[in-house]
């Protein structure tokens, strides 16, 4: 443990599994107090059995797209800790649909969670961080498809492109308050969802990665540790690709 985040109060959304879970665990290993959000009741408790994390990770169940629930969660953190140092906007949903087959229902849902939810969380966090002399760090998880686009991911890539634009604008608006806003853009990442994917197609995609492997959630989490820590105190408005040099 390097204690890079010692004593920092962090909120990680979508921490029930995959990348969000790895971020929450890695932050805790670095000494942070982590509020691990998930919409599904019990999703964090299912993996929160390790003694290593029992005192440092606190499950917090709420829907980030619901203003009242999100507000209540921030109030809870503020009342208990008096501060919030880091917000990781990781929660997101993904439906992959080709042009002509895009479901309006799925499109609405993706924008509600990936874009409106991110904005809502960012606004709430900035209200808490604005009165802290040391400001805070907001990390938005986007995606390389938000930078480069991808077949079959028109809507998803649009939402992630929006997350990147949100990051750059928010960084400009909040910079004078010492609130840093950055984005991590993961490439193809090994998650539970990936296990169900067509393995032949997956091989083709891995062939396009210069480093010859897909990202592990820990790769993304480590980049988040950097952005959450004081090591990145002069880094804001940036999009960091964590994608093993993928040729898209």
């Amino acid at each position: 443990m390097a204690d890079l985040l010692k004593g920092k109060v962090c909120l990680v959304t979508g921490a029930g599994r995959g990348i969000g879970r790895a971020i929450a665990q890695q932050f805790a290993k670095e000494g942070a107090i982590v509020y691990a959000n998930e919409v599904r009741q019990g999703a964090v408790d299912e993996w929160l059995t390790d003694d290593l994390f029992s005192n440092s990770i606190i499950p917090l169940y709420f829907n980030i797209s619901d203003e009242s629930e999100a507000k209540g969660a921030f109030k809870q953190i503020k009342d208990k800790r008096g501060r919030l140092d880091v917000l990781v906007n990781n929660a997101g949903i993904e439906y992959n649909e080709l042009i002509g087959m895009i479901s309006p229902k799925h499109m609405t849902k993706m924008f509600e969670v990936n874009v409106y939810g991110t904005i809502e969380m960012l606004q709430l966090a900035s209200r808490v961080m604005a009165r802290q002399p040391e400001g805070g760090s907001i990390i938005n998880i986007s995606s390389m498809v938000g930078v480069k686009g991808n077949k079959g991911q028109l809507v998803y890539s649009a939402t992630k492109g929006a997350v990147i634009a949100i990051t750059k604008s928010a960084a400009k608006e909040l910079g004078s308050k010492n609130i840093r806003v950055n984005s991590i853009a993961p490439g193809l990442t090994k998650t539970e969802m990936m296990d169900a994917a067509d393995q032949e197609k997956l091989k083709d995609r891995i062939n396009n990665i210069s480093m010859g492997r897909i990202a592990q959630p820990l790769d993304i989490a480590n980049a988040c540790v950097f952005l959450a820590s004081d090591l990145s105190s002069y880094v804001s408005g940036q999009v960091i690709g964590v994608e093993g040099c993928t040729i898209m």
């Binding site: 507000k71 209540g72 606004q123 900035s126 209200r127 604005a130 009165r131 608006e173 004078s176």
Partner: protein
């Protein structure tokens, strides 16, 4: 111990760098140079902390004047009677 109106005024004085005698019904968003986006976030943040409330979005959006702010805070059971 400060009254709520004193606390309320002090936040405006601190955030917008204005004199107490300017805080009246004509003190509005439109007429205050420092009441920009960042000033608004700072004001809301300071008020939430001082009065231990979390505003609804619609209240933040309509919080455009010194007078109206008091009406909004009353909804959150903050009294300005003394």
């Amino acid at each position: 111990m400060m009254t709520n109106i004193e606390k309320y005024k002090n936040i405006f004085i601190r955030v917008f760098d204005v004199r107490e005698d300017s805080l009246n019904e004509s003190f509005t968003f439109a007429d205050t140079e420092k009441w920009d986006s960042l000033g608004h976030i700072t004001l809301i943040s300071e008020l939430e902390n001082e009065f231990d409330v979390m505003f609804d979005t619609e209240d933040i959006l309509s919080f455009g004047s010194f007078e109206n702010g008091m009406k909004i805070l009353k909804k959150y059971r903050v009294s300005f009677d003394n």
